[in-house]
């Protein structure tokens, strides 16, 4: 049986779980779309109609108590006329409210927009309402406009500000919910990253081989045995500690990675060499907690372990403009040409976390390295502590 190169790449594990999450998220967007397109317009229409009808009711009662002859039809006609005009103008008010939300630092600018806008709103209302009134009662435009100007200018201003206030309140609650959702998602993904790290350290193959190495070292180099035990403990401790911050400095992340690499180095000896090219100015950059370990682990599992030849893992950091690029590369067999790059449980989580943390501002690229081996390149916004 002759077969082609088949060193499968990423250890894929329950990859479908990730996909099912994705599917749920897609369904959610579909529901949102539905709400936006149909239900929203319908709800807006219903809302203004309801206000119109309640004013019509009030108008009818108060008029008839004052002894004025007003029919139900007239009352409803007038009131709906009032409020549908408000409904049309509210769109402009909401548009402005969305753009000028009185965020800290922009308050006076927003006030400078909304004050004249409210006056314009009031004026536009009176003009439009007079036009509608002219059409409803055959009174001349001027005859319809004058009483409106006298009686409603202040009320119109009030309506504008209420619309702006409600719109901003809605936006704030939506943003708040989104933030909470994102925080929950990030927390989940960090927990998954830690769980993955823990699984890796408790992976029987890694754990028992490490213990076996220690067992050998005890008889030939007690200091080295001590060091290995300390490194293994550091690793286990880091993975067992409860989840804290989403981001750590690259320095801290590399230190954690060092513990892991020290152990692999002890196990593989001359078969593994690790080079790190980390410019000092990148050391204080913020990176997601536990981001590098699955990448380096993959490089060792698939690029070093399956081969008897001496293997090399290269870790590189670089800063270009506002981006930090991290690159992990091995000199193993890489991917076959026809083999799709699949994410393992660690990598699919890495991808999802980057998406949640940075949205479109990140890059995550897996490919065969030029020459030999495989490389993973990760680009995120460059941010330093206390920024």
């Amino acid at each position: 049986m002759k077969s082609i190169a088949a060193g499968e790449r990423w250890f894929v594990w329950h990859g479908d779980i990730h996909y099912s999450f994705k599917r749920i998220r897609n369904n959610m967007t579909i529901t949102n779309l539905f709400q936006r397109r149909w239900a929203r317009w319908l709800m807006g229409f219903g809302f203004w109609t309801l206000i119109g009808l309640s004013f019509a009711f009030q108008f009818y009662i108060s008029s008839s108590q004052a002894g004025l002859e007003v029919s139900w039809g007239q009352a409803v006609g007038y009131a709906l006329g009032d409020w549908y005009v408000f409904a049309v103008l509210s769109m402009a008010a909401i548009w402005l409210a969305r753009r000028f939300q009185f965020e800290a630092g922009h308050r006076s600018r927003c006030l400078a927009v909304h004050l004249p806008a409210s006056a314009l709103f009031s004026l536009a209302y009176m003009a439009l309402r007079a036009l509608v009134g002219h059409w409803q009662s055959q009174a001349s435009f001027a005859d319809a406009f004058h009483p409106l100007l006298v009686k409603t200018w202040l009320f119109n201003l009030l309506v504008y500000w209420v619309i702006v206030a409600v719109s901003i309140a809605f936006d704030y609650s939506r943003k708040y919910r989104e933030r909470e959702l994102r925080a929950a998602e990030l927390e989940k993904q960090l927990a998954q990253a830690k769980l993955h790290a823990l699984q890796m350290q408790l992976n029987p193959h890694f754990l028992f081989n490490t213990l076996h190495s220690i067992s050998a070292l005890i008889h030939q180099d007690a200091e080295a045995a001590d060091r290995t035990i300390a490194r293994l403990s550091d690793l286990l401790r880091a993975a067992l500690e409860s989840a804290e911050s989403q981001e750590v400095t690259l320095r801290a992340e590399l230190e954690m990675l060092r513990h892991y690499l020290d152990i692999e180095q002890i196990r593989f000896g001359r078969r593994l060499s690790v080079t790190m090219d980390i410019p000092p100015e990148t050391l204080e950059a913020h990176v997601p907690n536990f981001i590098l370990q699955p990448l380096v682990e993959n490089a060792i599992r698939h690029g070093i372990e399956p081969y008897a030849k001496p293997g090399r893992v290269e870790l590189r950091a670089s800063r270009a403009a506002d981006n930090l690029t991290l690159e992990v590369r091995d000199n193993g067999g890489g991917l076959r040409k026809d083999e799709p790059a699949k994410d393992g449980v660690g990598l699919s989580n890495t991808r999802a976390r980057l998406q949640t943390l940075y949205g479109k501002a990140h890059g995550f690229d897996l490919r065969n390295a030029p020459g030999e081996g495989f490389q993973v390149r990760l680009t995120i916004p460059f941010r330093k502590a206390l920024s």
Partner: protein, 248 residues
Amino acid sequence: MRIRALIVDDEELARARLRQLLQGEPDIELAGECADGHEAVAAIKKSPPDLVFLDVQMPELDGFGVLEAVGTEPMPVIVFVTAHDRFALRAFEVHAVDYLLKPFDRERFQKALRHAMEQVRSRDNNTVRQRQSALLADWQSSQIAVKSAGSVAWVKLEAIDWIGSADNYAELHVGAKSHLLRETLGALESRLAPERFVRISRSAIVNRQRIKELRRLFYGGYEIILQDGTRLTLSRRQRTKLKELGLV
């Protein structure tokens, strides 16, 4: 007569551990150390040792690969050494083959060594050979070797969900992973036990245990739904297979 023992392990420290322990044994002469499977095969063929401490997980050619490549003549007494492999452990027990679990202490090591030395000394090579050959056969029948340039990955048959065909390759679907084999489905089918795998169309073989559901399609074919949600079509021509599947 001193017993010549060979150490085979890809990790330097693991070899050192065995060396430390073997050096304390007066009846043992160290025949050499090998850092990978290929080296081990060459060493065994060149100058057959009496006893081999053989690591199971090694790059490119693992312990079973070594056993396969060495053949039955000469077949030294083998003590398998492994950190973890549930299948292998079960197989060692079944075939009464000696093994050591990493990490091990002197006591356990000596117990395994004594037993292996008895076998070497009894000159009852047939029993040893039979056991080790049976172990190998068992291993081979439960795995498919996915070979690539110089290396072998073993895929356990029980882990395969289904096998598809792509041109001249067979694609083994194992959970979310897949492996390509340069072998036609027909050739592969003949190697698989029919009570475990069934050919459902020209382009697919399915692990019976993974079938979750069978749905009738309007044109007379059937759709087979696997536990992981994969949908495969049972062609109309293969409908006789339904009885075989025990589903109709």
